[in-house]
């Protein structure tokens, strides 16, 4: 089976003030459709940089990145934007909801992004389906300031799911939430894997990591599989 994501020998170096610093040093990684993968590691270990490479925010300095078997290691920004829209959904630690928009409008942001055009009715249908998927359809018209942290993160997840992505990338999505709310958010993310979406979760929380299919440890720029105890 073709892997959803396959990284081979990925190297990423950041230019420091004195000398370049290697953040990712020959990272190897594979994610299959419907698989959930947790990435754990110390702060500053390069988890977010790895997520940037996976989400095509950044390009690797060396190595190969295959998405559905296609090499996208060096694709130009225009094509990367198209791929981000069509293939990826992103969830961040800070929810990044626009305060002046309602929950539904925040979700619709991913549909009104210049990558194709959907009629208003179809947009509304998809937005409501995504909000329903994360269990907050009744809050569609609420502004983010009126929502709790968990509700805001679920709006952000709905925004990530509304285009039915093939890969969901989550960067510490429970970092700003209490344990109970965090668990609800993880469940919402895992529900997306049931329809074949791959999930890559960057987290510090060992309990949340344990709920993923596999856990990878990033240490000194090298990714290793953590064997369950």
């Amino acid at each position: 089976m073709t892997a959803l994501i396959e990284l081979t020998g990925i190297v990423k170096t950041l230019k420091g003030q004195k000398q370049p610093r290697t953040i990712l040093d020959g990272v190897e990684m594979r994610v299959d459709p419907g698989e959930s993968v947790a990435i754990v590691g110390r702060s500053g270990s390069g988890k977010s940089t790895l997520l940037s490479v996976l989400g095509i925010f950044d390009r690797p300095d060396a190595g190969t990145y295959l998405l559905h078997g296609q090499d996208i290691s060096r694709i130009p920004e225009r094509k990367a934007a198209k791929l981000r829209s069509a293939e990826f959904g992103f969830v961040f630690q800070r929810f990044f909801l626009l305060k002046h928009l309602t929950a539904a409008q925040n979700v619709a942001m991913a549909l009104v992004n210049g990558q194709g055009w959907l009629p208003r009715r179809e947009r509304k249908r998809r937005v409501m389906a995504a909000l329903d998927q994360v269990g907050i359809a009744q809050l569609a018209k609420s502004k983010p300031t009126k929502l709790s942290g968990g509700e805001q993160q679920r709006v952000a997840i709905a925004r990530a799911l509304v285009r039915e992505p093939k890969v969901l990338l989550a960067d510490e999505p429970t970092g700003a939430l209490d344990l109970e709310t965090g668990t609800l958010v993880i469940e919402a993310l895992l529900s997306a894997t049931e329809r074949g979406c791959g999930l890559v979760l960057v987290t510090h929380d060992r309990d949340h990591a344990a709920r993923m299919g596999r856990t990878l440890d990033l240490h000194d720029g090298v990714l290793t599989e953590r064997v369950p105890a």
Binding site: S48, L51, S52, G55, F57, D58, E77, R78, A81, K82, L83, R84, S85, A86, F90, F92, R94, F96, L98, K99, H100, L101, Q105, M109, A110, V112, N113, G114, Q115, G116, W117, R159, D171
Partner: protein, 419 residues
């Protein structure tokens, strides 16, 4: 109508959302731009209204743009040729100018030489020097017409009616006065006697109407066939009028060539002129308009700086929003388009406000000053001033939005990761 592309519609939707979310910033941008756009609209409107008013007066005096005028002396044989060529045509009218004195016989008119009332053009000798004594008479320029001249000189009716060629010629010539002549006869009540070309034979004229012909010289218009019966002996053996003769013709009439050939064959010297007053006047006004528009442009630049300032501040505030939009697949070009849409809409709103303010002010000026200044009565807001305002608003939007748009497009996507 062609619909906007997906990107265009996305930019419009997000731009409108951005404006609604930042109403105060938008308002501040509009305030800084308002004076600049207003200046452009006012200069353009002022120039258009002035040009229209000037042109309307010039048209009354010189003739409709593009029409032809043939000038010649009104000798009997010339008059006969002209009559022969233009008789029965509605695309040509002959106009013979002569002097006429209306009022007491044997006195010097109050405006000897046909001068505007109140101006002294230096008349003949007074009674002490052996001339006529000054008395109750007004000298006018009499224009005798072969047909309705208003197709060439659209005189504005002021009172009464215009000459009627459908009736048989009257022995008492009907006169239509211009405003200067009407004013003279209001000021000086004179007997209803008229002498043509300074002759002694008197005619009883009838004043039937008053028109505005944009001339300050007292002038009366009459039918040539009514005037012809009473011409002074000096007019010549064939009882034709003397003075100057003009034939006004439409641009396309074949009568021009026929008349020119016949006059040439008769040995008459004629001078042909095509009315080109609009082009000449536009050339003169262009420089003045450019100077004023340049000044308005400077004021507009200050407004552009305001939009630029507010735009940069706005982009600085929205770094995370733009980075997030890039993360969900929005191309850089669309991000620039969103910022430009916002500034363009701000420019358009400002233009609408400036146009509305100018049109309202013009209406008030027309209401309150229309009686004193006729060119301001019923004046309409010129559409080209509206177009100039919209263009100024759009240019300001583009100039003021370009740098913030580039900055928005350059925001690194990783901003959301490191926040």
């Amino acid at each position: 109508m062609r619909r906007l592309s997906g990107r265009g519609r996305s930019a419009l939707i997000i731009g409108v959302q951005g404006i609604r979310a930042r109403k105060l910033r938008t308002l501040l941008s509009m305030v800084s731009l308002f004076l600049g756009v207003l200046a452009v609209v006012v200069v353009q409107a002022g120039a258009s209204i002035a040009e229209k008013a000037m042109f309307a007066d010039i048209e009354l005096q010189q003739g409709v743009e593009g029409s032809k005028i043939i000038y010649m002396g009104a000798e009997p044989k010339t008059t006969a040729i002209v009559n022969d060529v233009i008789q029965g045509r509605d695309d040509a009218v002959a106009m013979i100018g002569m002097q006429a004195i209306i009022g007491e016989a044997g006195v010097r008119p109050v405006n000897e030489g046909g001068a505007p009332i109140g101006e002294n053009w230096g008349g003949g000798p007074g009674p002490e020097a052996g001339g006529d004594p000054s008395g109750q008479a007004v000298e006018v320029r009499l224009s005798a017409l072969t047909g309705d001249v208003r197709a060439f000189r659209p005189f504005r009716p002021r009172d009464g009616r215009w000459l009627d060629w459908s009736t048989t010629p009257s022995l008492a010539p009907k006169l239509v006065l211009n405003e200067a002549a009407a004013k003279a006869f209001q000021q000086y009540h004179v007997p209803a006697q008229m002498r043509l070309n300074g002759g002694q034979q008197t005619v009883t004229p009838q004043f039937v109407g008053v028109v505005d012909d944009a001339s300050s010289t007292p002038t009366a218009y009459a039918r040539l066939d009514e005037v012809n019966r009473w011409l002074a002996p000096a007019a010549g053996p064939q009882n034709g009028p003397s003075g100057d003769l003009q034939v006004l013709l439409t641009a396309s009439t074949p009568a021009t060539q026929v008349l020119q050939k016949r006059l040439k064959a008769a040995g008459t010297e004629a001078y042909v002129e095509t009315v080109r007053s609009r082009a000449e006047m536009a050339k003169e006004l262009r420089l003045i308009r450019l100077v004023f528009l340049a000044m308005a442009g400077l004021v507009l630049l200050i407004g552009v700086a305001g939009i630029l300032n507010v735009g940069l501040a706005s982009v600085g505030e929205r770094v995370e929003e733009f980075a997030l939009r890039r993360a969900v697949g929005t191309p850089r070009l669309l991000l620039a388009g969103i910022v430009l849409t916002e500034t363009l809409l701000t420019g358009l709103f400002t233009a609408a406000a400036a146009i509305g303010a100018s049109a309202g002010a013009l209406r008030l000026v027309s209401m309150f000053l229309g009686d004193r200044e006729p060119f301001l009565a019923d004046v309409q807001f010129p559409w080209d001033a509206g177009v100039a305002g919209i263009i100024a608003g759009l240019i300001a939007g583009i100039l003021g939005g370009a740098v913030p748009a580039l900055r928005a497009a350059g925001i690194p996507i990783a901003t959301v990761m490191r926040a």
